[in-house]
Subunit: 348 residues, 2 copies
């Protein structure tokens, strides 16, 4: 087993109690899966913050964004036979599905990459419009020139798709709507053009014929996408048998594009692996981890809101050192470092 | 009940026996869901032809396109407990799904719009490459300027998505890959720009949170698509409770864009309805059929490979007369005429 991660000694580095709820009556249930970028001389995390209303006995309360953009609270009686609460993440009622929590994105920053503080001068990023009425989740941040491209999961009754926003200063943020239609998430833009095209990794899911696989698409402008191509499947019997999905932007190395991805088995155990794409022809998968490069083994990775999960969608690169930030057990934020050359060696 | 269709007296107008199989040992099982266009002074259908190998006793044989582009035959013993043949359209074996038939597209033409003949001077359109290894299906044909845009369903083990090909002369056909990723089908391009953008209707499907709904997307170039928006849902308790999907290109009328769409209930009964979109802002749904405008009532619409199905994805417009061509019971091709003004009246 190739466990190549050096975890931060101070893990977890952020927990729900470290941030203030977004509104009175709301409680932060989980911190998850941050996007990561450098800006203004510091390392920043765009943390997914999952909140739910304070719960009263016998009642399940959950938030949605209403027509007017305000948060509305839905309440269900726990004795109602139409209510299905088996999944901690999803409520089913009378054939319709709701999320138990609603997520927004919050900025925190650090000068050392380990100790992060809230950035109250910057607004939080919330769901906006009918395609984000159940919130926004798991944002990747790619920097191309002076512009940051935010690709994140939009959740609503209409489906789960990939939203795009852009910013240069993190104060003024422009919305570009849904860039990939349902069911899609885990979308990471390559932060360089290859040839004359932009590329993106994404993860559609199929109700039949197909699965939860990683795909590649092309664009002339980063807003409109086409020429989709299937890169890798989940692998029966292996650690990534049920689903795979890209992490953050692929890393340019001397051997090709190195992508850290997550894989889960049918027991919903999430590990990290790597794959290497051809430097000029990213459709060509050169290599892929047989064993995970990191598995959920620490107590904070095994127990929480949804245990046995490590999930990364953000990192920074300094020479051979790859520092990933990751969500553990869908509850806390952690960090770990890898040697890029060690990961490449594990693939050969 | 608003049944507004005047069926052709000669229905069905094309049946499997009317065309020759594409190769020795293959049998045409069904003719389905033609794209329709005018070219060279005639009306043309681009018919979906579903074939399967001649079946031997006790064995289920099915075709796929192999790595080299040649058709390969897979065989399963009917006694094998891993084999699931409950659905006439899909074979399940050991957790993997295959189609019982493989479809290609065939050109037929007519001078009167009723009597169609094969066009042997034109090649058939077959699956090509890894995303079409289970065939291609249900092509819409939009004409913009001198170019025909073919949007069709690509089927493979990687998933079900929308492919794009273009042609001007129906001899040289250019492939543009997958334009909408899985799970997606029922894709109809508007045959005019609105403002400065191209638009398309499409139908993603979600394994959870969402459903089989009709969406709208925008493009600068007809190849790359973004800014997806959900237009209409299936409607619980109604004739279109389980799934809805666009027919052919929307029809410009004085009141807006008229779209004929199909809806199915949970009993897989497929009917046709209409919706009206705002002429300049196609995101705005002005009206939608409460009752179907056409239902499967004729024997050839109720009995066949998959009965109780009428499905259209092609039409021609002459003044107030809308002539649709449609697949009936997934077996034969039929025609029917409507008055556009009567459909509009039924929506008001």
């Amino acid at each position: 087993m190739a466990n190549l991660a050096n975890r931060f000694g101070s893990n977890p580095i952020l927990a729900p109690a470290d941030l203030a709820p977004s509104a009175p009556g709301m409680r932060i249930e989980c911190l998850l899966n941050p996007g990561v970028f450098r800006f203004s001389g510091k390392t920043w995390l765009l943390v997914r913050v999952a909140e739910r209303p304070e719960q009263n006995p016998g009642i399940t309360s959950l938030p949605i964004v209403g027509e007017t953009g305000q948060i509305e609270i839905l309440e269900f009686n726990n004795d109602d036979p139409k209510l299905d609460r088996d999944d901690p993440r999803v409520i089913r009622y009378d054939g319709r599905e709701y999320l138990t929590t609603m997520s927004h994105l919050r900025l925190v920053s650090s000068t050392d990459g380990i100790h992060f503080e809230a950035e109250p001068d910057y607004g939080l990023l919330s769901g906006s419009g009918p395609l984000e009425s159940y919130g926004i989740e798991d944002c990747r941040v790619a920097q191309i020139g002076d512009t940051y491209y935010l690709t994140y999961t939009q959740v609503s009754q209409h489906g789960v798709g990939v939203g795009l926003r852009t910013t240069q200063d993190w104060h003024t943020i422009t919305e570009h709507g849904m860039m990939l239609p349902p069911h899609n998430k885990d979308c990471a833009i390559f932060d360089e053009v290859i040839g004359d095209k932009y590329y993106v990794l994404h993860r559609p899911s199929s109700p039949n014929l197909g699965g939860n696989y990683i795909w590649l698409a092309e664009s002339p402008d980063l807003v409109h996408w086409g020429n989709h191509h299937c890169l890798v499947h989940s692998r029966p019997g292996m650690w990534d048998s049920a689903r795979v999905g890209a992490g953050a932007a692929p890393i340019r190395t001397s051997e090709g594009w190195l992508e850290i991805y997550h894989g889960a088995n049918h027991g919903h155990r999430y590990c990290l692996g790597a794959m290497l794409l051809h430097p000029e022809q990213p459709r060509r998968v050169i290599a892929r981890s047989v064993e995970p490069i990191m598995e959920p083994v620490e107590p904070y990775e095994q127990q929480g809101f949804f245990g046995n999960v490590i999930f990364t969608n953000g990192h920074v690169v300094d020479g051979d050192v790859l520092t990933i930030y990751y969500g553990a057990s869908d509850t806390v934020i952690c960090g770990a470092q890898f040697s890029i050359s060690q990961i490449l060696d594990s693939l050969s």
